[in-house]
Structures are given as structure tokens and as C-alpha cells.
């Protein structure tokens, strides 16, 4: 079946794809483009596991149509590390053991990246509110919050 032709930018690279009119961007990323970092937890915008940054706005990719990405700029978890060098948030999530099963982690990393881009020195409360749209069902949130605080500290010194 033919589809809608979309030209967009993902993690700095020009990307083109065909998608169906009702196809969520999450499905395009995962099933058409092989970018499986964003996860489908709920598919209804409640869990944040599919979080991406779309034109500098944190969004759930399950609540965006693939067709809407035409001419826009997408950042996913795949774009966070530089080659073998992890992003400070990724490094601190590892050091603080801020994950267990890992399904929520890409969403938390992207949401935390967005949070720190807008507020480089967040309080614990601001981190907890800022990440309230991301659900974790195994670690609990303390280790995640501490990892983000530590990453913020490192990033400020960089």
C-alpha cells in the first residue's frame, strides 16, 4: 500500500519514509526505521516510555502521527551518546543503577535531557515534577532522581 511521503530530521540526519495516515510516529521509528529505543508502554500518553523531543518539545511519540513529522526535527535516545561516549545522563543512570528492566529508561533519559536543557540546575522537586510523565514500575524513582541530579552537576562543570 502506498503511503504518505515524509521528509524529516532524526538525530541530525535527514530521513525519508512512507507511512500510513493513522500510523503513530512511535511505530514509524520502531518498525520502519529500526530505532527501537523509544518503547510502547501504554500507547495512550500515560507512561512516557516513547518520549522523544520534537522541535525542542518533549512529546510522547505514540501521540504524534508519523505524517506530522514532515519538515520537523526529532531527537531520540539513539542520538544521545557520541560514538562510544555515553551522554552524562546515560553514564549516571548506569552508575546509580537507575534502572532494572530498562523499558522506561530511554523515555526517562530523553525527558531528563529535555528537563536539563531548560533548567540546568533543577531542585529535587523540579526533577520529580519534570519526570512525572514517565512511569517506572521496578526501580522506584529515587535512584533516577539521584542520577539526574548527579548528571546535572557533571554537565554544569563541563
Amino acid at each position: 500500500m502506498a503511503g504518505i511521503a515524509v521528509s524529516t530530521t532524526i538525530n541530525g540526519d535527514a530521513v525519508e519514509y512512507l507511512c500510513q495516515p493513522d500510523e503513530p510516529l512511535l511505530d514509524v521509528l520502531r518498525d520502519r526505521l529500526g530505532l527501537t529505543g523509544a518503547k510502547e508502554g501504554c500507547g495512550t500518553g500515560d507512561c512516557g516510555a516513547c518520549s522523544i523531543i520534537l522541535d525542542d518539545r518533549l512529546v510522547c511519540s505514540c501521540l504524534v502521527l508519523g505524517a506530522e513529522a514532515q519538515g520537523r526535527r526529532i531527537e531520540t535516545v539513539e542520538g544521545m551518546a557520541h560514538g562510544e561516549t555515553l551522554h552524562p545522563l546515560q553514564q549516571k543512570f548506569l552508575e546509580h543503577a537507575a534502572l532494572q528492566c530498562g523499558i522506561c529508561t530511554p523515555g526517562f533519559l530523553i525527558a531528563a535531557k529535555d528537563l536539563l536543557a531548560k533548567n540546568p540546575d533543577p531542585s529535587e522537586e523540579e526533577i520529580r515534577f519534570g519526570l512525572a510523565g514517565n512511569l517506572c514500575r521496578c526501580t522506584g524513582y529515587d535512584k533516577i532522581v539521584r542520577a539526574v541530579q548527579d548528571a546535572a552537576h557533571v554537565m554544569k562543570q563541563a
Partner: protein, 286 residues
């Protein structure tokens, strides 16, 4: 199913009006995509309105503010001038969903989704906001409370689109506030809510008031008796007591898993009083 992204309002209206099957308007999609996924709606045509010039802008006009139908709620919160003039409307809009949802959801969508528990709607109703509706037979401006007619239902005809929400220029000594009850602090749907908008005279006596309740009836309620309970008085204990009583009495709520009728009635009165207290302080009342 077709997806289109018209670049003019005339084209959008024409496509919607001419669609043979069910058509849906897409701005933020935070309701539409969930309903499509759940199989509750199956539009033949999706009209993405974000490409229409002006739809993504907040404009300050001689009359006040015009908030385009595709402006995400996150953008409302970043507009210092709007936040200063209408803090209650902005705080209500900022309560919808998570950061992720804020980046997409719109107050126009919140209004047109027609949920009785929509957070921004009581604040908009209290603010006396109006909706600019474009349609096949031209444009009209209506009070926002005329849009929802029941849960999930609106008064908009086929082919009609809300292009913007209008808020008036702020009169001196005015303030508004919105509060909701939820069992947690974030990411939940209002069990009951209240929006209050007040204008005071130089002595701190309330000369204009609008009080709206959410999740207390099939549509958001504008409680005119509540305004009458406040006008001509300072916000003293007697006025607050009367306000709470009138608001509790005006509720026509349902029993559901989020709250009972009795609880909603009681809390509607409490929240109206607290929102009035904040609005009064914001208006400079002491």
C-alpha cells in the same frame, strides 16, 4: 483514511464540510490519537490544522489576547504577559497531563473534547473567554460555555473549526484562579474543580465575579448565583460561606470511581472558596 494538512482556514473548512465520512480535527492529538487507538473513533479524514497561519500564535490585540487553536499548553505557560494577565487560565492549562502532553495539548482541544472534567474549561468559563468559530457560512464568536453540550458532544456543526480562544484585556484590580481535587499531585483527572474570576473596586469590594465548576455536571457549570453571592461584598467569611453553599447546591455530579456525589458537592464548595481567596489576593484584595 486520509491525512491532510491544509494551509488556509478556508481549505480546512471546505475539506471538513465536504468530507463524506467522519472527519477529525488534529491539533495536539492527545485526545484524538488515544480515541483512535481505542477504536472509539474512526475518522475517514484527519485535518491537521497546525499548518494554518496564525493557528500556532498567541497574539496580543487591542481587545486582549487571541490564543490560536494549535498553541500547546506548554507555550501558554511560557508567555509571561498572558500568565500575568490570566494566571488562573494558565495554571489550569498547565495542569493538563504530563510534560509530554503539555508539549502537544491545546485549550481549544480541551474545550472541544467536551469532558466535564476538562481542566482548562472552568478557568476559561470563569474568565469569560470566547471562541472564534470558522465555518462554511462564515465566522462567529461564541462564549466558550456554549461549545460543550454534554460529555464528548459540542455545538459545533459539520465543517466548523474553532480557530482561536479570546481573552479580554484585564480590567484593573482583577484576578483569577483555578483549583482541582485529585488524589495525587500530578497526572490525574479532576474529581471536581473550580475556577473563579474577580474584579474589585478601589475599596476591595467585588464588583464583577464569575464562578465555574468542573466535573460537577454533564458540562462545566457557570454558577451565576455564586457570582451574586460575591458581588457587592468583600471576600469575608460570610461571603465565602455563602459561596461554598451555593456552589455545593449547584452541582449535579455523578457517583463514580473517582468520587461520590456527596464528596463532589462538598469539595466543589471548598475549592470555590479557596480559588476565590487566591483570585481575590491576585486582584489586590486584602
Amino acid at each position: 483514511m486520509r491525512y491532510i494538512r491544509p494551509l488556509s482556514i478556508e481549505d480546512a473548512v471546505g475539506q471538513l464540510a465536504g468530507s463524506a465520512g467522519p472527519a477529525a480535527i488534529l491539533a495536539g492529538g492527545s485526545d484524538l490519537l488515544v480515541r483512535m487507538k481505542g477504536g472509539f473513533v474512526e475518522p475517514e479524514l484527519i485535518v491537521d490544522i497546525k499548518g494554518i497561519p496564525g493557528f500556532s500564535d498567541i497574539r496580543e490585540t487591542a481587545e486582549g489576547f487571541s490564543i490560536g487553536a494549535a498553541v500547546p499548553c506548554a507555550v501558554l505557560g511560557e508567555n509571561a504577559v498572558l500568565k500575568k494577565a490570566w494566571p488562573g487560565v494558565v495554571e489550569a492549562a498547565k495542569l493538563i497531563g504530563s510534560k509530554q502532553v503539555q508539549g502537544r495539548c491545546t485549550i481549544t482541544g480541551n474545550l472541544c473534547n467536551a469532558s466535564p472534567a476538562a481542566d482548562s474549561v472552568p478557568a476559561l468559563v470563569a474568565a469569560g473567554a470566547r471562541a472564534v468559530v470558522a465555518g462554511p457560512s462564515g465566522s462567529r464568536t461564541i462564549a466558550v460555555e456554549a461549545v460543550p453540550t454534554g460529555p464528548g458532544k459540542t455545538s459545533l456543526a459539520k465543517g466548523e473549526i474553532i480557530e482561536a480562544i479570546l481573552l479580554s484585556k484585564r480590567a484593573a484590580r482583577s484576578g483569577d484562579a483555578y483549583l482541582r481535587f485529585i488524589p495525587r499531585t500530578e497526572m490525574d483527572i479532576a474529581v471536581v474543580s473550580a475556577g473563579v474570576n474577580l474584579t474589585l473596586d478601589e475599596a476591595g469590594v467585588i464588583k464583577a465575579a464569575r464562578v465555574a465548576l468542573g466535573a460537577a455536571a454533564p458540562t462545566v457549570l457557570l454558577v451565576e448565583e455564586a457570582a451574586e453571592a460575591l458581588i457587592g461584598r468583600k471576600l469575608d467569611d460570610a461571603a465565602l460561606e455563602r459561596l461554598a453553599k451555593v456552589c455545593s447546591g449547584a452541582c449535579r455530579p455523578i457517583d463514580d470511581k473517582r468520587g461520590t456525589i456527596e464528596f463532589r458537592r462538598k469539595v466543589a464548595g471548598v475549592l470555590a472558596g479557596r480559588a476565590a481567596t487566591t483570585a481575590y489576593a491576585r486582584a489586590g484584595g486584602k
